[in-house]
């Protein structure tokens, strides 16, 4: 068997074996997305990849999705009574509309792998996906997809998010720069962050003019004036930053990447202090800060599973899924 790719798992913290995710929502479910697992490395035969879940207060992770679902990203929406879960994966964009019991792939072969998914907060039929060959949009609930790359120089896009203030404004982590669209993806403009290779992007919920981008070789780039000016995050390693996440009030922001350990900023990302060297971890792929308790953190690693901290990142302990490559960690409210 030959394997060149290392692709997708989705983890969801603490799911009861027989319960649907929908039933668990009220109990607070941690969700994690896994795209590889060193416990099984046979091409297309990775039984440890997929969406896994763990309920708050529990320690056991359960596979929530189909087996072998190589996954990169996860999103969630609720229009009406039924929540919908979306998984960006190697086989395309998967959706479950019945609390995780069944899944359907919404994309065809044209979009290749799907790395990230953004969901319009108002119109449930509008979906955006980021792929190695660019950005695609569906206006009809995933039945049809159109490429939306007008204005982009490169096509590789790691992540796409929607502005918290305006659902028609989007940010895309394209390989040559961070791009913004103000018309629902029809046209894009580079934000001139000053560094290529954008790996991840966040907008602070509590300070919507603050946008941070993790880059391949230049650490964190940050703007506090909605993109008018960008600067380098001071102190943080000038290397690859794959994950940035912030406390709900924006007072603490955490970042991690390739051989970086975990870094923290208390000034909207303008300066950083390393709080965990994490020598045993080659790369941090994902970060999550508990919105209800900013001292409660998770990091997802490449091949070392998940680590958890309950003291604001000062101490960490393994939290399961050993061997897994964890691309995203989320919690459903």
């Amino acid at each position: 068997m030959i394997r060149l790719s290392t692709r997708g798992l989705i983890l969801i913290f603490g799911l009861f074996a027989t319960a649907s995710l929908a039933q668990e929502v009220s109990k607070k479910i941690y969700a994690a997305v896994l795209f590889n697992n060193s416990k099984s490395n046979v091409t297309g035969a990775d039984r440890y990849v997929g969406v896994f879940a763990r309920a708050k207060g529990k320690t056991e992770w359960k596979n929530f999705s189909n087996t072998n679902l190589f996954a990169f990203g996860l999103n969630f929406t609720q229009h009406g009574a039924t929540p919908r879960y979306y998984v960006a994966g190697g086989n395309g964009l998967h959706r479950s509309a019945d609390g995780g019991k069944t899944w359907k792939i919404l994309t065809g072969w044209e979009t290749l792998e799907v790395l990230s998914v953004a969901l319009d907060p108002v119109d449930a039929k509008i979906i955006y996906i980021a792929t190695p060959f660019g950005i695609f949009k569906s206006r009809d609930d995933g039945k049809n997809w159109a490429e939306k790359m007008r204005g982009c120089k490169s096509w590789y896009t790691d992540e796409i998010i929607i502005d918290a203030r305006d659902r028609h404004t989007l940010y895309a982590a394209v390989d040559d720069d961070l791009y913004r669209s103000r018309d629902g993806g029809e046209n894009w403009s580079p934000m001139q962050t000053g560094a290529p290779g954008i790996r991840t992007v966040i907008q602070l919920a509590a300070h919507s003019n603050v946008i941070l981008a993790g880059t391949e070789d230049h650490g964190v780039r940050v703007t506090i004036d909605d993109g008018k000016n960008w600067s380098a995050g001071k102190g943080i390693s000038a290397t690859a930053i794959y994950a940035i996440h912030a406390a709900s009030d924006g007072k603490a922001i955490y970042a991690g990447g390739y051989k970086t350990g975990v870094w923290r900023s208390h000034d909207l990302g303008q300066s950083w202090l390393q709080i965990w060297t994490a020598p045993e971890i080659e790369a941090i792929y994902s970060l999550w800060v508990d919105p209800a308790n900013a001292d409660h953190l998770f990091v997802g690693t490449n091949g070392k599973g998940i680590y958890e901290s309950t003291d604001g990142g000062m101490t960490w302990k393994p939290a399961g899924l050993e061997g897994a490559h964890v691309k995203q960690i989320s919690m459903f409210p």
């Binding site: 068997m1 030959i2 394997r3 060149l4 790719s5 290392t6 692709r7 795209f35 590889n36 060193s38 099984s40 490395n41 046979v42 091409t43 297309g44 035969a45 990775d46 039984r47 997929g50 189909n66 087996t67 072998n68 679902l69 190589f70 190697g90 086989n91 395309g92 998967h94 959706r95 069944t102 899944w103 359907k104 792939i105 065809g108 072969w109 290749l112 792998e113 790395l115 190695p132 060959f133 490169s154 096509w155 590789y156 390989d175 290779g197 790996r199 391949e216 290397t239 690859a240 794959y242 390739y258 051989k259 080659e282 790369a283 792929y285 490449n302």
Partner: protein, 599 residues
């Protein structure tokens, strides 16, 4: 009473009479029939659990219960579920369903219902995945999405699989394959097409599969020499690169071309390192290779030049074009094949840019050079994972990616210029590259390997002569099966001129002539230019990063056709391949989905 000995003699006599009475094509098919029975019998003795040995066991009614038990095991293990599995399962099921116990129909249906079949991310992955999905959707039509692992209905799955297969066939026949001419991955294209040919109910898809089989076998045939797949390859594994006869394609060559003249699964010399038996799909298939392709694969009476255009695999980062062209040059003789890709990163990880592969009774019948390059950036061009961890990730699967001694590599610092039996290879290795040396593989079984004051290194392997001229100092490192030629200058290169007993007479004569040859490379470190006059008086001048001049005229790769040589002709974008041999012509027109044979 007739004795047993007499009986055997009579049978042999009858078989001989029948065989000799057949016309060429009939004789060829009879020989194929014999080989496929031998192959099925050999595979049916394999204990290994494998969809294709299961087909062989059930077909030959050998180890039947073992095969049924193995198939049962493969359907139970829900940890398995990738593209290799997706099409292998359908191949096994469709080839044997009449023989299987009733309970298996539901079991196999259940597999496509419960587990995600991972599609993967390479060309061969998708061919296998969509072939499996196409046949599964055809086998279980009119079922809704709840009955499928991906939530799509039978109709949706069928339409998607057909759409991609149509797209891939068009891309392949107009721009060329991405994973082209691979002694390993040939397997992963031919086998699905055989299964598709055998079981697609749509006559158009069946015909397309048949035409693509002809196409891929013809593509192999023109670079085939006595069981070896010679020249440049998009992807290959080190073990096969240094011992070409052990590649997976040798089994296909034996089955369809009748060469080599030994069974590739049983001979020590040629025993494949691969335990795979996918070629059973050929032995069990109703597809028959057109005689014209077998003749092209085996007639080496006249040397020829053959050129091709292929394409680079999908570039996702650090490129301005998604699938830039690859230019390939091959010179074929009865004794050796010298072939090269034009250079640069054309495929990640496993590229084999050039080699000479010669006919020999000994193993390791090849010689080549490379620059052992690796970088996360190279991988990030083709894989979406994090650039800085990719080298380590690839090392986990391919083991040798970062190794300075590896025998497969795509280097951005390597370029070639070939004209017939002469090859110039130049290197301009960046200071920031991880490894600054170039290596050459010189097999120990060479009859002779002589270094001379003239700077030429002369080698003899049977009737094949190799003259190898290094532009820079070098050293030899002895290894188990070879001498490693290593040169440590970043600005580097070699000149290779081939000869044979037929063209040069005795080896001494070949050496005498080459000693007179002039390799002009003054100020090479500054000019990166070499000029060489071949034994036939043609002047090749090559500047790294600059022009390739043949007798003063620039070589224009853009004029390369998709296929161009005495046997295959096709224009880029045409979708039409003309296969010619003597007065026979076979035209594959993928636009009209038609095959036309003419004499």
């Amino acid at each position: 009473m007739i004795s047993d000995v007499t009986k055997k003699l009579l049978i042999i006599l009858i078989l001989f009479s029948v065989f000799t009475a057949l016309p060429n094509a009939g004789r060829s098919q009879a020989a194929f029939g014999d080989r496929k029975i031998r192959f099925l019998n050999a595979a049916s003795q394999e204990a290994r659990k494998d969809f294709f040995t299961i087909i062989a066991k059930l077909h030959t009614q050998t180890n039947f219960q073992q095969a049924v038990s193995q198939l049962d095991s493969l359907t139970r293990d829900e940890g398995i579920g990738g593209m290799f599995y997706a099409y292998g399962l359908m191949a096994a099921y469709l080839h044997t369903r009449a023989l299987l116990p009733d309970s298996f129909h539901a079991k196999i249906r259940q597999v496509y219902r419960r587990r995600t079949m991972y599609r993967g991310d390479t060309e061969n992955h998708w061919v296998m995945y969509y072939t499996g999905l196409y046949l599964a959707a055809q086998t279980w039509p009119r079922e809704d999405g709840a009955q499928w692992f991906n939530g799509k209905s039978s109709q949706e799955n069928f339409a998607e699989a057909k759409s991609w297969l149509d797209h891939w066939i068009k891309l392949t026949t107009t721009k060329g394959q991405g994973e082209f001419d691979s002694p390993t991955y040939f397997n992963a294209f031919i086998t699905p097409m055989l299964v598709l040919y055998d079981f697609a109910q749509d006559p158009v898809m069946k015909k397309r599969a048949q035409m693509l089989l002809d196409y891929l076998f013809a593509d192999f045939a023109v670079e085939h020499l006595h069981g070896n797949y010679g020249g440049g390859h998009s992807r290959d594994y080190p073990q096969d690169i240094i011992n070409p006869i052990t590649a997976l394609t040798t089994k296909w060559a034996w089955l369809y071309f009748g060469e080599p003249n030994f069974a590739p699964w049983s001979e020590i010399k040629g025993k494949s390192r691969h335990p795979s038996w996918e070629a059973i799909a050929g032995a069990a298939s109703s597809y028959r290779l057109p005689e014209i392709i077998r003749q092209i694969a085996t007639d080496r009476s006249t040397p020829y030049v053959h050129t091709e255009t292929k394409r680079v695999r999908n570039i996702i980062r650090f490129g301005e074009e998604r699938n830039p062209p690859v230019y390939k040059y091959t010179y074929m003789t009865n004794d050796y094949v010298l072939g090269s890709l034009h250079g640069g990163i054309l495929q990640p990880i496993q590229q084999h840019t050039w080699d000479v592969t010669f006919v020999s009774e000994q193993p390791h019948n090849t010689l080549f050079t490379l620059h052992p390059f690796y970088s996360g950036k190279e991988l990030a061009m083709f894989f979406p994972e994090e650039q800085k961890v990719l080298s380590d990730e690839v090392n986990r699967y391919h083991l040798v990616y970062t190794n300075p001694n590896k025998w497969n590599s795509s280097s951005p610092y390597e370029q070639t210029f070939q004209h017939k039996n002469v090859l110039l290879v130049l290197y301009n290795i960046d200071l920031n590259a991880q490894h600054h040396h170039i290596d050459g593989f010189f097999p120990k079984p060479l009859d002779e390997r002589i270094e001379e004051a003239s700077k030429w290194i002369f080698c003899k392997a049977g009737k094949t002569y190799i003259a190898f001229y290094p532009l820079q100092p070098y050293e030899w490192i002895e290894e188990e099966v070879n001498w490693r030629w290593r040169s440590r200058d970043r600005k580097n290169g070699v000149v290779v001129e081939m000869g044979t007993e037929t063209t040069h007479g005795a080896f001494a004569e070949f050496k005498n002539r080459l000693r007179q040859a002039k390799v002009a490379h003054d100020n090479f470190d500054e000019t990166l230019t070499v000029q060489y006059t071949t034994q036939t008086g043609e002047v090749m001048q090559f500047t790294y990063g600059g022009q390739r001049l043949l007798n003063g005229k620039p070589v224009d790769f853009k004029s390369y056709r998709l296929f161009n040589g005495p046997f295959l002709q096709s224009d880029v974008g045409s979708g039409v391949l003309r296969i010619t041999y003597k007065n026979h012509l076979r035209i594959l027109d993928f636009n009209k989905v038609s095959i036309k044979d003419e004499k």
